[in-house]
Amino acid sequence: MKNRSLISISDYSKEEYLQILELAKEFEENPVQKIADGRVIASLFFEPSTRTMLSFESAANRLGARVIGFSGASNTSVAKGESFADTIKTVANYSDLIIMRHPVEGSSRYASEVSHVPVINAGDGANQHPTQCLLDLYTIMQTQGTLDNLHITLVGDLKFGRTVHSLVQAMCHFNTTFHLVSPDELKLPSAVKLHIKEKNLNYYQYTQMPDALQQADIVYMTRIQRERFQDPLEYERVKNSYVLNKALLVDVKPNMKVLHPLPRVNEISTDVDDTPQAYYFKQALNGVFVRQAIISKILGLK
């Protein structure tokens, strides 16, 4: 993985996912390892983000690297009309690795082609967010002890949710059975289902959430965004039909955990937070260890 960009979850193989997860575990046990001393990591957030940016910067700092960069493009030369490619080429001269988030889809792939240092995609519009996917895999492994032969229930916006697309794609390597819960308007796109079909795995589609909870080892909740709907009434109707609350958790498997990429709005009631199933805050913490592992691998430090 040394010097290889991570743009899309399909850039890495199953074996490479597992190597990253193993290394992340090492960082969980021993988070402060100053192995990137003297390295400079550029953190380019053309679009603001709290969780992802801070967890990347925290990961870089715990490795002893220095972080340069910006959040929001308004104070940069992009605002003066500089092309994106020129900005990336310039920053590549100042750093050993670029971490970037940009609202334009495919921007990270393009950056990795114009930059001579590797690029980690921290989200390119509605397209990909591979480090979120790896931290989801890590969390699933942590809670279930394995990634193989699990039943995963995905709930909410399966059409536009980039974390859902990457997770489905990645879990197709592990003989997963998928339970897909969404309104008809937000079903999983056929391009993503293609991955499931290629591996001859089973998937089931539901419009009601309670039908898909009993079998699940993992329930992956997502936020349904208002802007996805043309009719605001339709949004109001749909949004309240995919709310997970404590009462729904009575018949679930004992090992079942609830994950969410966060931020949540109302799709997980706060009464779930103190149940044994709630795992989404731990999931967010795992982001730092997994990103430490990814940075170390790409910089060739581990």
Binding site: S8, S83, F84, A85, P103, V104, E105, G106, S107, R109, Y110, D124, G125, A126, N127, Q128, A191
Partner: protein, 154 residues
């Protein structure tokens, strides 16, 4: 007899070069564009609304003294999968073949996604051809699929 003579006049023979036959009637200008024939200095004859036994009406292009690389000619398979390529040497058919759908294409088609980097920056489009018959192109950058109904040629 008279009819046949006239047909010969419309699609007159060339001594050497390439004939692209069986082009869907409405795709002649697109094929010219894809093959960049506006830029070449070779003699070019093209026709549309020609009678075809197989297709009813068809289009046809003749380019004098030119042969195409297969990687180049195969680009037209996206709009003219029925096309036949006939290479002429000394008024005779030297080679005749159908076009193949390429696995990857670059710089021919616009990505339909307005939020794709190729529509925002000066980045050349690249696609994996998932389905050449029922046109499905996977964008190398934004990973969205451009389909028959949304395809636009550059």
């Amino acid at each position: 007899m008279e009819n046949n003579n006239r047909k010969e006049l419309v699609v007159s023979a060339i001594k050497s070069g390439t004939v692209i036959d069986h082009i869907p009637n409405d795709m002649v200008s697109t094929v010219i564009k894809i093959l960049n024939l506006y830029e070449v200095t070779n003699e070019i004859v093209f026709g549309a609304n020609l009678d075809s036994k197989k297709y009813g009406k068809k289009g046809l292009i003749k380019v004098k003294d030119k042969k195409f690389e297969s990687s180049e000619i195969n680009k037209i398979s996206l709009v003219a999968p029925s096309a036949t390529i006939i290479e002429i040497e000394d008024y005779r058919v030297a080679r005749k073949f159908k076009v193949d759908v390429p696995k990857k294409i670059s710089g021919i088609v616009k990505c339909f996604n307005p939020k794709c980097i190729t529509n925002v920056e000066n980045a050349k489009t690249k696609f994996d051809v998932l389905d050449g018959e029922d046109l499905k192109l996977l964008c190398h950058y934004c990973e969205k699929i451009t389909k028959k109904g949304t395809v636009e040629f550059l």
